[in-house]
Subunit: 267 residues, 2 copies
Amino acid sequence: MTKNIKILKVGGSVITYKNKDSELNIHVVKQIAKDIFLWLRKNKSNQLIFTAGAGSFGHPLAYKYQLNAESLQKDPFGFVLTTTNMQNMANRVARIFHYFKVPLFPIMPSSIFMTNKGRIISAYIDTINEALNRGLTPFLWGDTVIDRSHTFRILSGDQINPYIVENLKVKELYFGTNVDGIYDSDPLKNHDATQIKKINDDNYKSILTSISESGNLDVTKGMRGKVEEIHRIKVRPLKCIIFNALIKGNTYKALSGQKVGTKIKFE
Amino acid sequence: MTKNIKILKVGGSVITYKNKDSELNIHVVKQIAKDIFLWLRKNKSNQLIFTAGAGSFGHPLAYKYQLNAESLQKDPFGFVLTTTNMQNMANRVARIFHYFKVPLFPIMPSSIFMTNKGRIISAYIDTINEALNRGLTPFLWGDTVIDRSHTFRILSGDQINPYIVENLKVKELYFGTNVDGIYDSDPLKNHDATQIKKINDDNYKSILTSISESGNLDVTKGMRGKVEEIHRIKVRPLKCIIFNALIKGNTYKALSGQKVGTKIKFE
């Protein structure tokens, strides 16, 4: 049977408390681990790569040390403190997953990626493929990495995913976020925000326009950016589900193909 | 000024309590961190790669799950539990080093090395070089890695070092152990053991013989193995110091070229 690699990316605002420095949302991490365990047990032919945003383990330090600035003058200490703090988050997530019998295999992004001006120029992803073949669930996260021109830069989970999708020919991407899917404006700030159920090649452009027109730029940039980012991935067909991973059972539903969130399909 | 890369490898029995499961010898880790800080501050032109043995974070798990067996039947869970436990050790060591202002940059061996029958066949070490050029101290440790023929295998710090030495043209290796240097038999078990002060091309063979003849095979294998292992490294000239890293100040002395331990020089 052909194996079917899926990537599940959960946002930093899902697995950490965004407003509490370096604090894991253990309750939600456990929920997601349980869902993945149940799904993996039911679908022996599926393979999963798990990626996570940096959340409050990464952003405050990256901001403090200006790691994403387009400059050469960066404190080496800011870099090692940030990547080590991210490693600590990853280690804690992995141990929770192991407790729930998910064989999460942490692969440290700063060990395998280098960028130039923030774009990946060198990578070692052979281990990801080999790990999948051995029944493991590779785990990567938003990190800070060595950059040729800017000394160090941030490499977010959202940059790692397209790279893996394109290089390992992944066809299904799942985004666990803190809202129910793609909206025409930010549902956390606008009660009239309307959820978009399906996005495909036919309605892609009109949906981008409707998102742009629905509110101020800052608010809608995130939603619009997400859709554009997925559209830029050079793999077709490409299926994505964007769903609310804070809700118990949603991760299982999404991975199992049950109706949840916004479905994107580009052929 | 030409940079001079040194590798300092400390044994698992130095930085962990060998008989206590997953317990760091924090006191000794702090001592070593302080010594490295002082040495780096005095020698701006020097660059250091720090490597560590797995000690009680790795061996009990690797043994339990038979990760080093020459077989295919290995529990994926044993692998992820071991590499995650090693990651935890590395993370704790890194945070202690950061406290003492050493910019330790953890590079996860299971992310960058793959072996076949226990020998490295694929690696990504570009980050090590780039990290050195940015004033960082790369840190690698004994780990368990993906193996082509045996599913998973152990990759010890003592296997990682020769690979880095040969590929980055390192000329100086420092081994921080729990004894004062190379002896003709095990000094922890034999009070008559004699320390060997200098080993070079001229006395290499006679010293191997004297180690072999001094006691039973098991006891002397470690000492003899260490010397043979260094001799096999394909870089000349190669300088090594084997010293007792449990003793305060010894790491600084060794790195600074002060007389301590056994000196090996192959030209």
